[in-house]
């Protein structure tokens, strides 16, 4: 086996690979940019080599720098992770030339699968089901319309070199086909420098389901079941699971066998993923093959018990697969939630900065539940603007899908992240969404279920009631502590009452609390609740048993109560004496300040330019200014017609969220 491997990546995937390498007794080398000097993968690796400044194009994807790190450390093999150089044939070629093993497929396979048109042709030749469409290059809009009519609407117009949703258009008629062709072509030219376009059938009710394959250099190839990755936001996967709630064994087998035959057709070795789109009638069509380890590989590992990274390393070393197709048993259900530093309340805008708090739930494994958290960050670490904003991949496994979802909900409730905006509340909300729970999902799930964005989950009554009684019992503890302050007037101490009113979401819940050493009996209306917890004052996470069922709350103080976060809801819970509650009805509802006449900075960033001047009349949609954040230029446009009355920021200014950029009359 290799003595030492280098991981040409960063973040959670570098940490993930290091873990397996360490288990196998292989020494590890991390590479890092200046932004990652103190990163977790650097701390975990046996050696670490600096490879340049923060931007990836000056560090992680500069082949020469990686090669130099390999030379310096004498690493015998390189695991590329995903992204960066993982699917760069030049890198694989260069390693080969210098006698260093690439823990991935051969260069030829990467090249063959790297181009959408080539890969589709190869797939057809290998007997893989593909989406009906026109494979050749399309000259002009007229030809595009002709082909579209032949295939039958709706059609998808795609850039050959495309990815991530860029250069893609759906057309439902001739006019849209004409227009879509032109805009895809333009976008492809500017984004990829390659304006080749093809057209295919647009699949309705689509699900994204992919097959994991493993092939060795000895002609063996197997498939490890599928992953359902339909929960996507703008083509970015958010929640994945294995197996798919939709596939039957026949379809699984057919997809798996086709995937393996495609892999074999390109002499594939290592782990790879064949992505399919599956329609409502379980017709499946080949999309593309990813010639690397996927982000979501842990769910496959959890249901198969196979360590994919270990297999990749063994295959790269030249070992033959020790697992046959019949050895692959799918056991139970696994879920993965991707925690991103994206603020769901602000239309998922990236949020960067310091993780002032990062406390994931503890990893654990038993016969009924596995909790796994793949991460590359730590409390006090930094989410940098230079890279992917992923914080962690939280996975749960359980014998059934329902249990895996339940465990995921609990795990998300117990995951503390502060300091930056993140999508955890959104993930929680999806876990509780009836349509997600039913398994009736498509790639349009998020678009359809959250058309106006995410504004926090609304809890079902029974969940809200549990929070109400827990809050009451917790607040009473805080009040009892207050009454134990020094300097009290002897014999005239405050006696903390048992009757309280919990006010939340505009509702009043009168409760009576009978506390004892182990917890409290809380009566609410005609319902009795037993509340028990080891929570102590000041703790930010409370695990409370309400009538025996676990409630995990993120707790922080507000005047007269708590801010409670649970299941994607963010609640202000006031616990008041009956008298205070009665008087609270006189308090005026404060209307939030009108911001419609202001342009607020939507994210922390740098003003690149202001496009208007004081006195300008602007039209709806007109560009007002450009803010650079996460190395992305964000164009801020006028939401309505108006006249600029004041400009508070100019090019070069660094602004925080909600800083006022300009005002309108």
């Amino acid at each position: 086996m290799f003595d030492k491997i280098l991981i040409a990546n960063r973040g959670e995937i570098a940490c993930r690979v290091i873990k397996t390498a360490r288990n196998m007794g292989i020494k590890t080398v991390a590479i890092y940019s200046d932004a990652d000097k103190n990163a977790l993968h650097v701390r975990m690796a046996d050696e670490a080599v600096r490879i340049g400044p923060a931007p990836a194009n000056q560090s992680y994807i500069v082949i020469d720098k990686v090669m130099e790190a390999i030379r310096q450390t004498g690493a015998q093999a390189v695991h590329p992770g995903y992204g960066f150089l993982s699917e760069n044939p030049k890198f694989a070629e260069r390693l080969h030339a210098e006698g260093v093993a690439f823990i991935g497929p051969p260069t030829g396979a990467i090249e063959a699968m790297g181009d959408k048109i080539t890969s589709k042709k190869l797939a057809q030749e290998a007997g893989v089901s593909t989406v009906p469409g026109y494979m050749g290059l399309i000259k002009d809009a007229d030809e595009a319309v002709k082909i579209s009519t032949e295939i039958g609407y709706p059609v998808m117009i795609k850039a050959s070199a495309g990815g991530g949703g860029k250069g893609m258009r759906v057309a439902w008629n001739d006019a849209e086909a004409r227009e879509g062709f032109q805009s895809s072509k333009n976008e492809a030219a500017s984004s990829f420098g390659d304006d080749r376009i093809f057209i295919e059938k647009f699949v309705t009710q689509p699900r994204h389901i992919e097959i994991q394959v493993l092939c060795d250099g000895h002609g063996n190839g197997i498939y490890l079941g599928e992953r359902e990755c339909s929960i996507q936001r703008r083509n970015q996967k958010v929640i994945e699971e294995a197996p798919s709630p939709f596939l039957d064994p026949e379809t699984r087998k057919a997809m798996g066998e086709q995937a393996v035959s495609l892999a074999k057709a390109v002499d594939y070795t290592s782990a790879g993923t064949v992505e399919f789109i599956v329609d409502g009638d379980r017709n499946f069509y080949f999309l593309e093959m990813n010639t690397r380890l996927q982000v979501e590989h842990p769910v496959t590992e959890l249901i198969t018990g196979i360590d994919l990274v270990e297999q990749m390393i063994r295959i790269a070393y030249g070992e033959a697969l020790q697992i046959g197709q019949d050895d692959v048993q799918l056991n139970g259900w696994a879920m993965e939630s991707r925690l991103y530093a994206e603020d769901p309340y602000r239309n998922f805008l990236p949020s960067i900065g310091r993780l002032s708090k990062y406390r994931p739930p503890l990893e654990s494994a038993s016969d009924t539940c596995v909790l796994r958290n793949d991460t590359g960050v730590y409390e006090g670490g930094e989410i940098s603007m230079f890279y992917d904003p992923m914080i962690a991949k939280l996975c749960t496994w359980a014998p059934t899908r329902g249990e895996a979802i339940a465990h995921m909900s609990d795990a998300l409730d117990g995951f503390e992240i502060e300091g930056i905006g993140h999508n955890l509340p959104f993930l929680s909300a999806v876990m509780d969404h009836p349509r997600f729970v039913s398994g009736n999902i498509t790639t349009a799930f998020i678009e359809e279920e959250y058309p106006d964005g995410f504004e926090g989950a609304t809890l079902p009554d029974d969940q809200l009631h549990k929070i109400v009684v827990a809050s009451a019992a917790m607040y009473r503890l805080a009040e009892i502590r207050r009454s134990r302050i020094s300097g009290r007037m002897g014999n005239h101490e405050r006696v903390v009452g048992n009757d309280w009113v919990v006010q939340v979401e505009g509702q009043d819940f009168p409760v009576t609390i009978a506390g004892d050493t182990a917890g409290a009996d809380v009566r609410m209306g005609d319902q009795d609740f037993r509340v028990e917890s080891d929570w102590s004052l000041g703790q930010t996470l409370a695990r409370v048993k309400v009538n025996g069922s676990l409630l995990t709350l993120k707790v922080s103080k507000i005047a007269g109560g708590f801010r409670m976060r649970n299941r994607g809801a963010d609640l202000k819970v006031y616990v008041r004496s009956p008298r205070a509650a009665a008087l609270s009805k006189y308090m005026l509802e404060k209307v939030p300040a009108d911001t419609s006449k202001l342009l607020l900075c939507p994210m922390p960033g740098l003003i690149v330019g202001v496009d208007v001047q004081i006195g300008d009349e602007v039209q709806e949609g007109q560009t007002l200014c450009t803010v650079e954040a996460m190395k992305m230029e964000n164009i801020l446009r006028a939401e309505r017609k108006g006249v600029v009355s004041k400009i508070n920021a100019g090019a070069g200014d660094n602004l925080a969220v909600d800083d006022i950029i300009m005002e309108f009359e």
């Binding site: 409390e379 006090g380 000041g538 008087l583």
Partner: protein, 510 residues
């Protein structure tokens, strides 16, 4: 006998109605509670003992003798907050608009005198249209009697003013002399002269809210120490503040049970100082991770944000926290910050509250506006306040401590008891670049040489060790063990005794 008791009941019922149901309803309609309801929420349930419920005014001018409501527009008495005694007065807007008459002021003076004798805080709830014009000079005399007591009580018992309605003209000066002023957003305002007079005299058009609302005073003028959303939130937070304060200047700050390990290690503080010395970080995170249960009561949160002041607890006991905030103006000291912190430190010293100072200060803010504004004297206030303070003083320098500002921020030389520095501290006369350009002026034309000199200076002086070699820093500590070290330092200072020389009073540069 029963008749007499019944009469008491009837009189009480009448007194409790204040200015009558219609006015109570009007008060409620404005989102305001009545004077009595406020007292009820401020104090522990059923703990209020009222004085002078039946006191009435004695004015006979302008037909005033026709209406003599019991209590005369202010409710006074004492009660407890979490079992600790406080005196309270609460002006009743439903009676003559809460205006201050001679008898009204006598009631206030009575509780203030008792508070002084018995050593308990005074909390005044202000909701008054001002002087009772009909009483003329008697009303003015009444104000002055209250003012004199505010002055005498200052530094003896804590005085808290809660502004829950109008507070204008001479009336503002009583709150102004108390220790803390809290205001309710949208329903309270304070000014010496109102919008009408302002318009007549200066032609300035301004609303009452803009001129003297809660935001104005909490952000701009610093008259208010805090602004809250409504009456209930305000009173809840005043109760919370009282839990931090001693009852009087002869007692130690209160202690209450705590559930936070004094030796808690905060690994994440080891990474809070950014690589680049010019990059800000949030000093509040350091505060929250150092004190008990992350519980911090900030004073003047919205004003002079380049310095943070507030109360917290360590091992259950109150400490005052003063900290430079690198997120705002790089944490430098300016006129506003100096005044804000100086007043806070003096309050702590007056009431035996130990002071924790967290330092990251690049110096004083330069500029004509600062110099013309008298930053010399205002900066000196903070210096003076720290220097005269005899309470336990623990200081932690997290990053920059440059120049005169280093001296000011509770340095060893100002009788700091424990002066700690993180390894990231840079204690120097100024930043490397500036120092190099002065010391090596002859090389100014040679960028390479200057760069080399700067690097040398950084290596030699941009650290805590030069100061530590001289004993100006007692110990260089690990950021992650800040809570533990600070807690132990304060624990060791519980019996600290230090006295300033006798003097009538000092002459702080006001």
């Amino acid at each position: 006998m029963t008749d007499i008791i019944q009469e008491l009941q009837d009189r009480r019922t009448e007194a409790r109605l204040g200015g009558g149901q219609a006015r109570i309803d009007a008060q409620h309609a404005k989102g305001k509670l009545t004077a009595r309801e406020r007292v009820e929420l401020l104090l522990d349930e059923d703990s209020f003992e009222e004085f002078d419920m039946f006191k009435t005014h004695r004015c006979t001018e302008f037909g005033m003798d026709a209406s003599k409501p019991a209590g005369d527009g202010v409710i006074t008495g004492w009660g407890t907050i979490n079992g600790r005694m406080v005196y309270v007065f609460s002006q009743d807007f439903t009676v003559f608009g809460g205006s201050l008459s001679q008898t009204h002021s006598e009631k206030i003076c009575k509780v203030m005198d008792m508070a002084m004798r018995n050593g308990a805080p005074v909390i005044g709830i202000n909701d008054s249209g001002g002087a009772r014009i009909q009483e003329g000079v008697d009303s003015l005399a009444g104000y002055a009697e209250v003012f004199q007591r505010n002055i005498m009580a200052s530094g003896v018992v804590p005085q808290i003013s809660v502004i829950m309605g109008p507070c204008a003209g001479g009336a503002v000066y009583s709150p102004a002399m108390t220790d803390f002023i809290f205001m309710v957003k949208d329903t309270s305002y304070m000014f010496v002269t109102g919008p009408d007079v302002v318009k007549t005299v200066t032609n300035e058009v301004v609303t009452a809210e803009e001129l003297g609302g809660a935001s104005t005073h909490a952000k701009k003028s610093s008259v208010a120490d805090g602004a809250f959303e409504n009456d209930i939130e305000t009173l809840t937070e005043v109760r919370r503040l009282v839990d931090f304060l001693p009852l009087n200047n002869r007692e130690k700050a209160p202690v209450r049970p705590f559930y936070d390990d004094p030796a808690r290690i905060e690994q994440s503080l080891d990474t809070i100082i950014p690589e680049n010395a010019n990059t800000p970080y949030d000093m509040k995170e350091v505060i929250l991770k150092t004190v008990d249960e992350g519980d911090f009561y900030e004073i003047q949160a919205e004003h002079a944000k380049n310095i943070i002041t507030g109360f917290a607890r360590i091992e259950g006991q109150t400490v005052g926290v003063v900290a430079n905030q690198p997120m705002v103006l790089a944490g430098c000291l300016d006129i506003d910050a100096s005044k804000k912190a100086a007043r806070f430190v003096r309050f702590c010293d007056a009431f035996e509250i130990p002071v924790l100072t967290l330092v990251d200060v690049p110096g004083f803010l330069p500029g004509t506006s600062q110099e013309y504004g008298g930053v010399i004297k205002h900066g000196a206030k903070l210096l003076f306040a720290y220097g005269e303070a005899t309470v336990p003083k623990v200081t932690v320098i997290t990053r920059k401590a440059y120049g005169g500002a280093y001296d000011v921020m509770a340095s060893k030389h100002l009788r700091g008891d424990f002066n700690y520095a993180w390894p990231t501290a840079e204690i120097a006369v100024m930043g490397a670049k500036g120092a190099t350009e002065i010391i090596h002026r002859k090389d100014l034309g040679d960028a390479d040489k200057i760069a080399a000199h700067t690097a040398d200076y950084e290596a030699r002086f941009a650290n805590p060790f030069v100061a530590a070699e001289r004993g100006f820093i007692d110990e260089v500590i690990q950021p992650k063990s800040t809570r533990k070290r600070v807690a132990r330092a304060f624990a060791s200072l519980r019996n600290k005794k230090l006295e300033n020389p006798w003097k009538k009073h000092d002459n702080i540069p006001l």
